[in-house]
């Protein structure tokens, strides 16, 4: 009995060590060799706001199902213009409660912009030119409980909306249980000569599948837990399930089409508040939603029915292809290439808010290396026809990879990532063993790796911010073409990759296009110059004082006005996403 208590205490100490040893006072500049729990995350945002009151604004966006506060930090230099007048960059993370390092990436981005402003030109430029909206934790309940409670690396993903997953009339009544009180939901195994697994001869902590005809040693019993509701199934109705990244408005489909969709679009309290917050910031033109894991940059579309216009795809590729090089090992492709999703934030932001939209799947386990040459794979590539070595499929775990991951935990992870198998007396199964990868493993980098991860990924956001439209307006010709008629030609050019409006937004007439407006004289005709050298102009039939236009990425557009009389003309360019411009011309 005493021995058992001691072990329990030891385990507790060990578990706590993973995320508490590096805890320190929260002060600016913030540290990133640690994880912030929900309260600390809020505290850190408040600390940044306190340290840079002029550059920041902290908004309470809404509250969650469990009444936790959802915060967003705006970084904007008011002296260069109000936030809404600048191209907006929106970053959020941790929409899945367990994907916590996404929050740290957002926090790091804020910390980077603020602490290096004034000493780094690159940073100064994006702070002065853009509005940055940073919402580190979307699923606040999920994050809070991921830290507070025992979980697997994959649980606490849901919103806290109870749902009867197993349709027995009760909600959330059979979640996994932390039988050994170590703060983790690990695996259960039982000795069984008829089992499908045997002990790995190279590392006794691991099991390998038996070959046909071979004698087994273990049967895996699934996640740590008991059959709380006595229905013969284990852990089949845990929290939720409402996946907040399937609950958004665009292309939403009900739960029978896609599990976890929620009852209807934006039925989640927090997701609805955030959608509203975003909708009130129509200047947002590029956005990132950070998740874990797998090392991926995903872009729309998320279903096979949708496609991107070629010009939009080109813009995505500028950012995506650069992101690949900034985060070695990541892949970049459409969200659908991973699997179809409906009602995800990516689709919502792209189709309904007109924002170039990326998902960053942070971290991949292959970065947990224990070998001489990190570039060389630990085992030769899987041969054709064999089960895929990547991905989460159970069948595909490569024993060499698992062995290396364990060595990584032993020698670099301070043995904190894996829990050795220990006997346990289970009320139904009897003598079993509990062990395996802990909550803070698998999808999360060990804290020592966190600084590089947050930096590389935040720099991709910075790169995208740098690509937001930078429009210049130039009156390149004022010419009297008859006694009382002048020709005024205006060129709008974009120094960056992202156009002033996506082709999709323009095609679907999502919102008004950019406008070029002349006041101060009577405009007789206006049009678009289609061939400057040959003087080809397409005049519009109506409203010659107002031209609707948009400026492509790394491109330009030229317009012409025919104006009567003399005096000073004022030309205004206004855009929902790009900054407004104006100039005057004397005739």
């Amino acid at each position: 009995m005493i021995r058992k208590s001691i072990t329990t205490i030891l385990f507790l100490a060990l578990a706590l060590a993973v995320f508490s040893q590096s805890k320190g006072k929260i002060e600016v500049p913030l540290r990133f060799d640690r994880y912030y729990d929900y309260d600390e995350m809020t505290e850190a945002l408040k600390a940044l706001h306190k340290a840079y009151p002029k550059l920041t604004r902290l908004d309470l966006v809404g509250r969650s199902e469990e009444n936790r506060e959802i915060w967003a930090l705006t970084i904007n230099n008011d002296s260069t213009g109000e936030a809404l007048t600048k191209p907006g960059v929106y970053v959020d993370g941790n929409i899945h409660g367990n994907e916590i390092q996404a929050g740290e990436v957002c926090l790091y981005y804020a910390n980077l912009l603020l602490t290096r402003y004034g000493e780094n030109e690159k940073i100064k430029k994006v702070v002065d030119r853009n509005a940055h909206y940073i919402l580190p934790v979307v699923n606040v309940d999920g994050r809070a409980r991921f830290f507070e409670e025992a979980h697997t690396p994959n649980s606490s993903r849901s919103l806290r909306v109870p749902k009867d997953d197993d349709r027995d009339g009760l909600v959330d009544e059979d979640a996994p249980d932390d039988l050994d009180n170590d703060g983790n939901i690990c695996q259960m195994r039982i000795r069984d000569p008829l089992g499908d697994y045997r002990t790995d001869p190279e590392d006794p902590r691991l099991m390998i599948p038996v070959k046909p005809g071979e004698k087994g040693e273990w049967t895996l019993l699934g996640q740590e837990g008991i059959d709380n509701d006595g229905d013969g199934r284990y852990n089949e109705d845990s929290e939720g399930f409402l996946d907040p990244n399937r609950n958004w408005g665009a292309n939403w489909q009900p739960p029978y089409v896609q599990n976890g969709a929620g009852n209807f679009p934006l039925s989640g309290k927090g997701t609805r508040a955030i959608a509203q917050y975003i909708h009130e910031r129509p200047n947002i033109i590029v956005n990132f939603a950070f998740h874990n894991s797998g090392g991926m940059w995903l872009r729309p579309p998320a279903t096979k029915e949708e496609r991107l216009a070629p010009s939009d795809l080109a813009v995505y590729d500028v950012i995506g292809q650069n992101a690949l090089k900034m985060t070695p090992g990541y892949v970049y492709h459409s969200s659908y290439d991973l699997y179809p999703t409906y009602g995800d934030t990516d689709t919502h932001m792209w189709y309904l808010e007109g924002s170039y939209s990326f998902v960053g799947e942070l971290f991949m386990r292959s970065q947990e290396t224990y070998r001489e040459n990190a570039a060389r794979p630990v085992t030769p590539p899987a041969t054709a026809g064999s089960a895929s070595a990547s991905g989460s499929g159970r069948r595909g775990v490569n024993p060499d990879e698992a062995r290396e991951q364990l060595k990584f935990s032993d020698h670099l992870g301070l043995t904190e990532l894996y829990r050795d198998w220990k006997p346990f007396h289970h009320p139904v199964y009897g003598e079993i063993e509990i062990g395996g990868w802990v909550k803070m493993s698998s999808r999360l980098p060990h804290p020592f790796m966190l600084p590089e991860l947050v930096h590389r990924n935040a720099m991709v956001v910075l790169f995208a911010a740098e690509q937001t439209p930078d429009i210049a307006m130039e009156v390149f010709e004022v010419k009297e073409i008859s006694r009382n008629l002048s020709r005024v030609r205006v060129r709008l050019s974009n120094a960056n990759a992202i156009p002033s409006m996506s082709a999709n937004a323009a095609n679907t007439r999502l919102y008004p296009m950019d406008m070029l407006k002349i006041t101060g004289a009577r405009v007789v005709a206006a049009g678009k110059i289609t061939d400057l050298r040959n003087n080809q102009v397409t005049y519009q039939e109506h409203r010659p004082d107002l031209i609707f236009t948009s400026v492509p990425g790394y491109g330009r557009v030229e317009h012409e006005f025919l104006v009567e009389g003399k005096g000073t003309l004022r030309i205004d360019y206004s855009s929902r996403k790009a900054s407004d411009l104006s100039t005057t011309v004397k005739l």
């Binding site: 009867d164 997953d165 197993d166 349709r167 027995d168 009339g169 049967t219 895996l220 019993l221 699934g222 996640q223 509701d229 006595g230 229905d231 013969g232 199934r233 284990y234 852990n235 089949e236 408005g249 665009a250 292309n251 939403w252 489909q253 009900p254 739960p255 029978y256 089409v257 896609q258 599990n259 009852n263 209807f264 679009p265 934006l266 039925s267 279903t303 096979k304 699997y339 179809p340 919502h348 189709y351 309904l352 026809g385 089960a387 895929s388 499929g393 069948r395 595909g396 679907t508 007439r509 999502l510 919102y511 008004p512 296009m513 406008m515 039939e541 109506h542 409203r543 107002l546 609707f548």
Partner: protein, 809 residues
């Protein structure tokens, strides 16, 4: 011109009718307007006769079970007598109808049934001398009495007939008052819920009616989501009143009734300028220019209505129809026809962009803001499903009430007469599933072959550890992106078809034998589709009024035999053959461009008709969703309008000088003509059809423990069998509910002490139970000595049905 005078004098005529002798009234009516509908004359005669009987029942509140005779007289008259008058010997028919009705009513002494059913409260109320005036106060529609003087005045002073049309229907404010009155008068049965605030700042109020105390199934009823069907709102209030008049349908049922979910649009029906619209008051920049709501229609001919404009134009594509010169039809160049007119909604180009009425005030149409088949990109549908607060509030309320087991929609679509149509492409199939190569190896299947859902689930299950989370078809469907169900499931079509046959018989038994124009098709993003596909419960839409179909000239003989539309040879998929189907309730957009008859729903601005027409492709309707010749439906509509003088349904083309287009002509069908009959008909229409909803409510599953059987197997070992019965005529859940796993599960719960279950579960799911079916659940139980188990049904749908089962000795 003479006709117009008669039309305008008509309300005045009504006013005096009750004071005349029945026969004289008919004669007067027929004399003054030769094609006057016999129904009204007959009804008034009946009213008068009934009032003479002075039966004490007359002061009673409306009794839903009015006598068969009265029903027959009123429904028959209201819906079908019009063509008797028009095409048979007018005098004779009118006399017959009048005498018959009066005679029967007097004989049976059901004065109220007639007086109320006919809904002539307004003119009567306007005349203090009318013996029926006092009675009007007892009808559920008494709030409208205040409008009656307007009616009379309009008629007498020769104002437009339109205000007379609005009178008799209740404004959103009056609906609020009516609901508060219900609550005040029935505090024990009625609860009001505020479920949303419309963008225009109006409360959306839901009324809950029940006399049950325990858990009972509930029915959610919504009316007039389109805002353009005030009759539907009246229907919902009529239903509420019926439920309060007798507790028969509330003892085992809870009703949630939402009579006015779209108050913003509903209010526009009562506006001085009338054009049919469904959008709420959220500002939406339809044309994505620099201004919002800046180019709505304009009343150019000053008649208070928005209709159409036709403009002679060398590029015109329309010609006057050879069958009726009032109608415009697309010219067919292949037949040597050359277009003459361009067609626009009535109005100017207010913002000077070359388009007409392309950004009218108003916003999202809640009737198409629901998630099933939501039309992303359609500005009228909203940016996303539930963006409009009325719809969000409804969905939230419904999911907070899992006891809701059936849904009724009073509006444009009709699933009562004809089952919901199929024929949509792209539905998910669980029979032939191809697994993409990238997942095939993980699933252990061949990417080149097709599998059934069952096979895939089994394959995946075998790869999961013991006791792991269940692999369900929806998980697999999600991973594979199989998509949604888009057509009604065959198993469900069976009950829809059976009930539609019963409905036709029901109508026939109540004297409604004539043919009416088919209801518009169900709309994508509608509540009625959402209720079936996403809630997985039986969803019945009912359209209370479409114009009657009259035979063409010289073909009157067959008219009486005409069956209700949708019966007979028509297959379920055919029902979109409806005249109004394609006109929809679109209050903006390219109605004229996309095939449907231009100007059928003329109140609808045909936004930028000409602009939109260019470059828009006509969509071919999916297989199984046929459309009929739009011209034919317009001709039908004209026949009815011509035969029914109190319906001012068509504005003759009259020249106007248009500021931008020059010489133009304004005319076409009047707003609301296809959705809203004269208010005089509303009560008879409700009385005829609303009781069917009560009948439908009786179809709901009724679950109880039927019996149990205990078989001793050995020492303290028993097999327990419990038989659960469903005495309703519908299964629970229906096939769609089984598919989407959304309806509340039904669990059989075993409680007690000193027992152990060896086989079976403490909470045993019933899964699906058929209609009028008994289903067995069984357990093997070991007891410790003598004990008594309690078996109980656990579901929000039914009162706990408990059995005590003694086991052992």
């Amino acid at each position: 011109m003479k006709k117009w005078i008669v039309y305008r004098a008509f309300p005045a005529l009504l006013l005096w009718l009750p004071l005349m002798g029945a026969g004289q009234a008919v004669l007067e009516a027929v004399d003054h307007a030769a094609i006057h509908a016999a129904s009204h004359a007959a009804i008034h005669a009946a009213n008068h006769a009934a009032s003479q009987t002075a039966n004490p029942a007359a002061s009673q509140t409306a009794n839903p079970a009015a006598s068969q005779a009265a029903e027959h007289a009123t429904s028959h008259a209201a819906m079908h007598a019009a063509h008797h008058a028009a095409h048979q010997a007018a005098h004779q028919a009118a006399h017959q109808a009048a005498h018959q009705a009066a005679h029967q009513a007097a004989l049976q002494g059901v004065s109220h049934g007639v007086g109320h059913g006919v809904g002539q409260a307004e003119p009567e109320a306007a005349n203090p001398r009318s013996p029926l005036a006092a009675q009007a106060g007892h009808t559920p529609h008494n709030a409208q009495a205040g409008h009656a003087p307007h009616t009379a005045q309009a008629g007498l002073t020769g104002l437009t007939g339109q205000s007379a049309q609005a009178a008799g229907y209740r404004t959103p404010a009056e609906v609020q008052t009516a609901l508060k009155t219900l609550r005040k008068e029935h505090p024990r049965e009625v609860t009001l819920h505020q479920i949303a605030l419309s963008p225009g700042g109006q409360e959306v109020t839901l009324v809950e009616i029940t006399t049950a105390t325990g858990p009972v199934p509930a029915i959610f009823t919504v009316a007039n989501l389109e805002g353009s069907s005030p009759l539907a709102t009246e229907g919902a209030l009529f239903l509420a009143q019926m439920l309060l008049d007798s507790a028969h349908y509330t003892r085992q049922l809870k009703w949630f009734i939402l009579p006015q979910p779209n108050p913003d649009a509903a209010e526009t029906f009562f506006a001085p300028l009338r054009w049919e619209r469904s959008g709420n008051r959220k500002p939406v920049n339809d044309d994505a220019d620099d201004q919002t709501d800046e180019d709505g229609p304009d009343d150019l001919n000053g008649d208070g209505w928005i209709t159409l404009m036709r403009v002679a134009d060398p590029e015109g594509t329309y010609i006057a129809s050879p069958k009726d010169p009032r109608l415009l039809v697309p010219a067919n160049p292949a037949k040597g026809e050359r277009g003459r007119y361009k067609l626009y909604t009535e109005g100017t180009d207010n913002d000077g962009d070359g388009r007409y009425n392309e950004d009218a005030p108003g916003g999202i149409n809640p009737a198409i803001n629901f998630p099933h088949l939501f039309k992303m990109g359609d500005k009228q549908a909203g940016l996303w499903p539930g963006e409009s607060p009325e719809v969000y509030g409804m969905m939230e309320f419904i999911f907070n009430h899992p006891e809701i087991a059936m849904a009724f929609t009073l509006g444009s679509a009709d699933f009562c007469m004809t089952p919901p149509p199929g024929g949509r492409r792209g539905g998910a199939s669980y029979e032939n599933i191809r697994v993409p190569a990238r997942l095939a190896s993980r699933y252990g299947v061949d990417p080149e072959k097709s599998y059934s859902m069952g096979e895939i689930v089994e394959t995946l299950k075998s790869a999961m550890p013991a006791g792991a989370r269940e692999i369900t078809p929806d998980m697999v469907a999600g991973m594979l992106g199989l998509g949604a169900v888009v057509n009604p499931l065959d198993e469900d079509l069976r009950f829809y078809t059976a009930l539609s046959e019963k409905y036709k018989a029901f109508l026939k038994s109540r004297g409604a034998t004539g043919e009416r124009m088919a209801a518009p098709a169900d709309k994508e993003g509608s509540f009625e589709l959402w209720a079936y596909y996403h809630l997985g419960i039986p969803s019945f839409a009912m359209n209370l009024f479409t114009p009657p179909v009259l035979p063409p000239e010289g073909n009157a003989a067959g008219a009486n035999q005409a069956a209700p539309s949708g019966s007979g040879k028509e297959s379920p998929g055919d029902r979109a053959s409806t005249p109004v189907a394609n006109a929809g309730v679109s209050s903006r957009g390219d109605q004229a461009a996309s095939g449907p008859p231009p100007g059928l729903r003329t109140g609808t601005p045909v936004a930028g008709t000409e602009t939109a027409a260019a470059g828009k492709e006509e969509k071919t309707p999916p297989a199984g969703r046929k459309t009929t010749d739009p011209q034919e439906t317009q001709l039908q509509l004209l026949r009815w309008i011509d035969a029914t003088p109190e319906v001012k349904g068509f504005v003759p083309w009259t020249p106007v000088t248009h500021p931008q287009l020059g010489q133009a002509e304004v005319g076409g069908f009047a707003p609301y003509v296809t959705t809203t009959p004269p208010a005089t008909m509303k009560d008879s229409l409700c009385r005829l059809q609303i009781p069917w909803l009560l009948q439908l409510s009786q179809q709901l599953p009724r679950l109880a423990i039927h019996s149990e059987k205990v078989t001793p197997l050995g020492d303290h070992l028993f097999r327990l069998e419990i038989f659960v019965e469903n005495r309703g005529n519908l299964p629970w859940p229906i096939a769609m509910g089984t598919r989407n796993r959304q309806p509340a599960p039904v669990i059989l719960l075993l409680e007690g002490e000193k027992f152990q279950i060896l086989e079976g579960y403490k909470r045993a799911p019933l899964e699906q139970i058929g209609s009028n079916q008994v289903k067995k659940l069984s357990w093997v139980i070991k007891t410790e000595g003598k004990t008594t188990l309690k078996a109980r049904i656990d579901t929000p749908l039914a009162d706990a049905s408990v059995r005590e089962i003694p086991l052992g000795k």
